[in-house]
Amino acid sequence: MGKITELSSSENQTQNARTFVIENEGNTLGNVLKNIIANYSEVEFCGYTVPHPQESKIHFRIQTADNIKAIDILRRGLKDLEFICDEVIAASSSLDSL
């Protein structure tokens, strides 16, 4: 499962603009999370990249409006995705009926 760190040696890291490094994750989680987070009104930029196809990690960048922490946005995105999964699991009980 994913392990989360932060991109070091970057002058572009502030409270409201950060690049997270998520180990052992790829496009599967990156794309869906990006799509959720990028549509938040407080978010100015959100994007991700798989820096090298042979390394199992993604760089996930979030830039937000002033006085909002990027990490809080990431948390909110993960919680929303978790909510989506919960709802889909609940709704998929109907699949047994066939």
Binding site: G2, E25, K34, I84, S92, S94, L95, D96, L98
Partner: protein, 342 residues
Amino acid sequence: MVFNSEMAMETEDRRPKVTMEEYKIKENPNDYGFSDETFDREKFKKNLQIIPVKRVDYELEFDIIGLTPAIANAFRRVMISEVPTMAIEKVHIYNNTSIIQDEVLAHRIGLIPLKADPRLFEYKLDEKDEEGNELDTLEYRLDIKCSWKNKDVKDPRNIDAMYKNHNVYTEHIKWVPRGKQGTLFNESQVGPCDDKILISKMRPGHELNLKLLAIKGIGKDHAKFSPVSLASYKLLPEIKLLKQITGKDAYTLQKCFSPGVIEIDKGGCAYVKDARYDNCSRNVYRHPEIAKFVELTRIRNHFVFNVESLGAYKPEDIFVEAVKILKKKCVELLKELDFDGK
């Protein structure tokens, strides 16, 4: 089936659509439909609908309404590469005098889908432990020898009468229970998904003595661990006829679509019977005089999923497992964020 065509007609016009013209889609390129809306929990909950449509053996077709493409794709990707199954990982070859080489044989055996329910097993964590234990490993034997049945048969087309065991099938694989496994499962629950998968062909004198060890793994590591032979989605197609199309044109129209999509009534008038299984080929645009009166669209938030299981899970279980795995990723990352307090 919950799906009601009248209900669909009523809400039809409020559904987000994408219109397929001859060379492009009609909508503005920066029109993402609903996909650029801010996520809203209440709205998502209200709109979400999952409808089973068709089940044939291990294949399931179901609709999910109210998703964005990113979410649908995440589900598909997880189904293919992160839902675990059991597969044969180690093949100990004690004797192989057949034509097929050891490594090719081992590879072929690894690809055999197994029925064992992976939820009842653990991942084998210790790489150095060759044999594994009863919680994470299933053991099988394949011992078979080809011999003469009747040397008098000269007709080479009648090999079944000439040889015994000249075809090695998955049914020849025998399960060897370890520890408590014998009381928990029976052979039909953990064996290969099909009895008649051909493994090798042999001639008299050829012999196989193999020990097979199966472990739990995921498709990301090797495709043999993937639980599906197919997991895909598409947007629901919709075809509208803007004018009555009759006579010869009706038959031309019918030929432009997949079989069963357009039918012709007794009066010779074409109507859309079921657009669901259309392949959206846009062939109709070869006949401009007909195409003027046809509108091809897709519903932007209506996903038609097709899941074809290999036998370890029921197809709906594969989907639910995939969603659970995606959820688990979120939970673990959230836990880690809170732990670090960054």
